[in-house]
Structures are given as structure tokens and as C-alpha cells.
């Protein structure tokens, strides 16, 4: 029973990470209706920046916030420079550009920081006050960090004028433009935010899976699965989807199919969700007009 509970709890901790990756995906989906395939590599790249800062002797939290800031700027820049010209292009063009970004970030990370596997420090002391019988300190800590991010995001969208403008731009770009919102910049903001969330997720997951340029490959897939399961237009659903995927992955990995086929769980989840319930568990039913 203990082992079973432990699996569930560590699944929940993983779920936090998947949920945050899913959240970043949903943010971009909501504002652009594009699925960002480069999300994972962007996050990995940000994590490498944090690693480099910490290696230089920066304190952990200093490096943490600096990285979040840099990632935000990076996301805005990517949208402004690379995605804006193809904003209105067909889907295929966009997917290809995303894939281009994916390989660029992946290879540049390998180029600058090397392909060797690096350990990444956790800010939460092993024997600190957060450690309990069920969770390791890092699991509790990263869950708390992700919840803070979620709360901050909610507050940002709900209570600030920029958040309101961003929601308006996503919901109805034409009307938003008419009332004076700079829609294109709001998209860039969305990219920045998603990139910053990705950076946080990357830094939280790196101590567990170790840092290398392909770190996020599998995690991104779980993030996709979580986002789809929760409904790709529902941020809360995405986080909940993350928890479900995390627990499911851990339980199936431990008791049913073994750890080698974990990625296939994500594949089955993705294809299953898309075919059986394309809008996810909590998504809106979308009706398109011909």
C-alpha cells in the first residue's frame, strides 16, 4: 500500500511539471490557435541559461528570476522576428516554422552547452522542512512553485489591464483592434509568458531528469497529452490533465507495462483523446462555420 501511495504522490509531483508544460502550450494555443512544437526546446534552452548562470556563481533564486526574465524576452523576440511574418500563413507553413525553431534551439543548445548530461541543482534542501514521508523536498517545492505560477497567471489575466487586453485579443482579434489593443503585441506577450512558464517548468524538472539538449522530448509529449486531455483551450483543464497524466504514467509504468513503454502511454493517450473526445475532458465544443 505504501508503495502504491508513493507512486501516486510522485505521479502528482510529475503531474505538476506536465501541467505547467501543458499550461504553456494552452497559452499559445488560446492566443494563436497554433500548437507550439518548439515549446520543449525553448524550455530546455532557458534551463541551460539558468545552469550557465549558476555555474558562474549566481545564487539559485537570482539565476531563477534572471532566467525567467530572459526567457520572456526570448519568447517575445521569437514571435516578433520569426512568427509574425507567417501569422496569416496556412497551418502547414506554421508547423514547419515551429519544427524549424525546434531543431534550431535543440542544436544551438547542444552547440553552446555540449551534449554531456549535466546535473542541475535543486533549491529545496534534501532534509529541509518540506520533506515528508510521502514526498521528497524537491517534489513539494516544485509543486509549490508551479502553484505560485498558476496563481500569478490567474491574477494577471483576471485583474490587470494587460491581462484583459490579452484575453480580448485572443477572443476576438478584430474587435480588440478596433478598441485600440495592439493585437500583434499581445500575441508576442503570450509567447513571452509561455516561454517564461516553460523556463520555470524546465528548471523544476531538470534536477529530476538531468539536463541535456533532449531533456524535454518526452516531457513535451506528456505536456501535449495533458493539454489535450484537459481540453486545449482550458488552462485549468490543462493543469488537471497534467495531474491525471502524471499519475496514470506512474501507475501504468509501475504495475502494468513497465517503464520502457512510458512514451507509448502518451501516444495512446493523445490518439485516444483526439479520436474519442477531441475537445478533451473539460474543453469547449467548437463549432466552425463553413
Amino acid at each position: 500500500m505504501d508503495a502504491f501511495l508513493h507512486q501516486i504522490f510522485s505521479g502528482l509531483a510529475n503531474g505538476c511539471i506536465y501541467g505547467s508544460v501543458a499550461l504553456a502550450l494552452v497559452m499559445i494555443y488560446q492566443s494563436t490557435h497554433h500548437i507550439n512544437f518548439a515549446q520543449g526546446e525553448l524550455a530546455t534552452f532557458s534551463t541551460f541559461i539558468a545552469w550557465a548562470l549558476i555555474e558562474r556563481g549566481w545564487p539559485y533564486w537570482g539565476a531563477f528570476f534572471a532566467t525567467v526574465g530572459i526567457s520572456f524576452a526570448m519568447g517575445v523576440l521569437v514571435q516578433r522576428l520569426i512568427l509574425r511574418p507567417v501569422e496569416k500563413a496556412p497551418i502547414l507553413t506554421n508547423v514547419i516554422v515551429f519544427i524549424g525553431l525546434l531543431v534550431i534551439f535543440n542544436s544551438v543548445a547542444g552547440w553552446i552547452f555540449d551534449y554531456t548530461i549535466k546535473s542541475f541543482p535543486s533549491p529545496f534542501a534534501q532534509k529541509g522542512p518540506l520533506a515528508t514521508a510521502w514526498f521528497s523536498a524537491h517534489e513539494v517545492g516544485s509543486a509549490l512553485v508551479m502553484l505560485c505560477v498558476l496563481g500569478a497567471l490567474y491574477a494577471f489575466f483576471r485583474f490587470t489591464p494587460i491581462g484583459l487586453a490579452m484575453r480580448a485579443a485572443a477572443q476576438n482579434p478584430d474587435s480588440a483592434r478596433l478598441v485600440g489593443i495592439r493585437v500583434s503585441w499581445m500575441l508576442a506577450m503570450g509567447w513571452g509568458l509561455a516561454s517564461a512558464i516553460g523556463a520555470v517548468a524546465g528548471m523544476m524538472v531538470a534536477p529530476v531528469v538531468y539536463l541535456d539538449p533532449n531533456m524535454m522530448g518526452g516531457i513535451l509529449l506528456y505536456g501535449f497529452a495533458a493539454a489535450l486531455l484537459g481540453g486545449v483551450d482550458n488552462p485549468g483543464g490543462a493543469v488537471l490533465g497534467g495531474f491525471i497524466v502524471g499519475v496514470l504514467e506512474n501507475l501504468l509504468g509501475a504495475y502494468v507495462i513497465g517503464t520502457e513503454l512510458k512514451l507509448s502511454v502518451a501516444l495512446v493517450l493523445i490518439v485516444g483523446t483526439l479520436t474519442l473526445k477531441p475537445n478533451g475532458l473539460f474543453g469547449k465544443h467548437v463549432v466552425t462555420r463553413v
Binding site: I35, P85, V103, G110, F224, P278
Partner: protein, 328 residues
């Protein structure tokens, strides 16, 4: 152009292609083999993505399955190498056709996503312990390169295994290109393009959308699977880690560079994905991918129709003014 001139050109091209391997060293010949293999794989993906507009980021997985089918049949069943090709094509056709069903409900991004997941999962599936007997697990399967049926010397070079494989691959690739041309230049090709450009209008014109879309997926997978089998024979080795998600992306690069919805474009794409990484590798290990990425984005901005599209535009501009049409 008149007919005899066309035939003469074709004969010269075939002769040139046949002499080519004797002008180069063994390793180059091996690379030419891979160009031909990739050309068939890229052509397969182009049928689906270029002509039918269904985005697949998972064609590396079909390539892997084709390669493994050929390798297992040769290694475990003892089948001759040429006989494995149809099996690889059929297995991949069925697999692609099955994949085509969920694809019917998924448009654009979601399909890209599902196939991306497929490509990410395939190396793990190939390593799976329960089928290790068959697939050789992490180690993969080592094959023997087939001997040429006869040998001779030409231009001071022996007709060895690689050169024989070149001729074999060339023949198969030519057949596949001819097949694709016949398939796509007629009624079926027009139906696929109509579905890509406007699915609702296509249905209204009486095109059976589910049938054509799933068939396109199957045929496309069969082409790529057959290429995988050819690749396994040429490289004489298969292992799960040579079929990562990056292989799928490589094929996509080939399609985009060569030109979406262009049959001869596949050859340019294949040349690009075979030789550009080799050149870029000398700068840095990651350079090929950085260049791939930059080229993907650059091509989308500058020449969205790829090399073939660019050549066509150039030809339209440079060709002699067409003779005035005779008045009816």
C-alpha cells in the same frame, strides 16, 4: 520539345546515372544509394503532405517499420533481400491506413501532433523487451550486404556490393517514381489536391473524402516503408536509435526543400538531406541541425514552393516567348 529528342535525353540520363557509380569511390556510391532511398521516402511523405495536405511528423516511424520488416525477414526467415520489399510496403500500407483513420478526425496541428507522438514513441517500442527476440532490442540487427549477381570491371572499378545495390536501388526508385507519377497525374491526384485545397468543395464534387484520405495515408506510408527496407539493405544494419524523431523531421526538410507537391522535387530534397549535413558536420556536430532549422524557416519565407518551384519560376521567366497560338 519533340518526341525523339525527349527519348534521347532520357537515354542519356539513364546512361549517365549508370556510369556515375564507377566514377566515384565506394563511400560516395554508398551515399548515392542513400540519396535514392531518401528520395523514395521523401516522395512518400510528399504524397501525403504536399498533395493531400495532411501533415505528418511521423514518417520516420514508417521508415523504421519498413526497415525492421526487411531486416527481420532477412535475418530470421532467411528471405532474399529483394523479396522483402513488397512485405515492407504492405505492412506499412496497413499501418498507415490504420493511422489514417484517426487522422480523418484530426486536422492540421492535431494530426501533426499525433504523428509526432508516434515518431517519438517508436524507438521505445522497438526496444521493448517482449519483442527483443525479433528485433534484437537495443543492439538492433546486423545484416549482410547482398553480393552482386555477376562481377566485372569498368573504368578500373570493380562491380561490387555497393555498386550493385546502387543499380538495384536505382531501378526500384525509378519504378516508385513512375508509379507515383501515374498515380498523381490523373484522377486520383486531382482528387487528393482538391481535398487539400478545399475539403468541403471536394466532398460536394463527389469525392469520397474518408476513402481518399486514408488511402493517401496508406500509400504514403507504403512508399516510405519500402524506402526503409531499401535503406536497411543498403546500410546492412538497423537499430532503434537510428530512427528517432529527427529522422521524421529530416524527411520533412526534404519535402520542404524539394518543393511541396512536386514529384521530381523529392530528388532535390534527398540530395539536400544527404549531402548538406555531411558538409555542415565539418563545422560542428550540431551545425547540420542548426542549418536544417534555418533552411526550413528560410525556405518558408523565401521560396515556399521549394527548389522545384523556384526552377519553374525561373523557367517561366527565361524561356523563349511561346509561339503565338494558331487561330482557330
Amino acid at each position: 520539345m519533340n518526341k525523339p529528342l525527349k527519348w534521347l535525353g532520357l537515354a542519356l540520363l539513364v546512361a549517365g546515372l549508370l556510369v556515375l557509380p564507377f566514377l566515384f569511390k565506394n563511400y560516395r556510391v554508398f551515399q548515392f544509394n542513400l540519396v535514392l532511398v531518401y528520395a523514395v521516402a521523401v516522395l512518400g511523405l510528399n504524397i501525403l503532405t504536399g498533395f493531400n495536405g495532411q501533415i505528418s511528423l511521423g514518417h520516420g516511424a514508417f521508415y523504421a517499420v519498413g526497415a525492421y520488416v526487411a531486416a527481420i525477414l532477412m535475418d530470421k526467415v532467411g528471405m532474399p533481400y529483394w523479396a522483402t520489399l513488397p512485405f515492407a510496403a504492405v505492412v506499412c500500407f496497413v499501418l498507415g491506413w490504420l493511422m489514417g483513420f484517426p487522422a480523418l478526425r484530426l486536422g492540421g496541428h492535431y494530426l501533426a501532433l499525433a504523428t509526432y507522438a508516434f515518431a517519438l514513441a517508436i524507438p521505445q517500442l522497438l526496444k521493448y523487451k517482449k519483442i527483443e527476440e525479433l528485433t534484437g532490442g537495443v543492439q538492433g540487427i546486423v545484416l549482410v550486404k547482398p553480393d552482386p549477381p555477376f562481377t566485372f570491371r569498368f573504368l578500373d572499378q570493380p562491380f561490387n556490393a555497393d555498386r550493385w545495390l546502387y543499380v538495384f536501388t536505382l531501378a526500384v526508385a525509378a519504378l516508385m517514381f513512375l508509379l507515383a507519377y501515374n498515380l498523381l497525374s490523373g484522377r486520383i491526384g486531382r482528387a487528393l489536391i482538391a481535398i487539400r485545397d478545399h475539403p468541403i468543395a471536394a466532398t460536394a464534387m463527389g469525392i469520397n473524402l474518408p476513402f481518399y484520405k486514408s488511402m493517401a495515408f496508406g500509400v504514403s506510408a507504403a512508399f516510405t516503408g519500402l524506402a526503409g527496407a531499401l535503406g536497411a539493405i543498403c546500410v546492412a544494419f538497423v537499430s532503434p536509435d537510428s530512427f528517432t524523431v529527427f529522422l521524421s523531421i529530416t524527411f520533412l526538410v526534404g519535402v520542404v526543400v524539394g518543393g511541396l507537391a512536386s514529384i521530381p522535387g523529392a530528388i532535390f530534397g534527398a540530395i539536400f538531406i544527404q549531402f548538406v549535413p555531411n558538409i555542415a558536420d565539418e563545422i560542428s556536430k550540431s551545425a547540420p541541425w542548426a542549418i536544417y532549422g534555418a533552411v526550413l524557416i528560410g525556405v518558408m519565407y523565401l521560396i515556399p514552393t521549394g527548389v522545384m518551384g523556384m526552377l519553374k519560376t525561373l523557367w517561366m521567366r527565361l524561356r523563349p516567348a511561346p509561339a503565338a497560338a494558331p487561330k482557330a
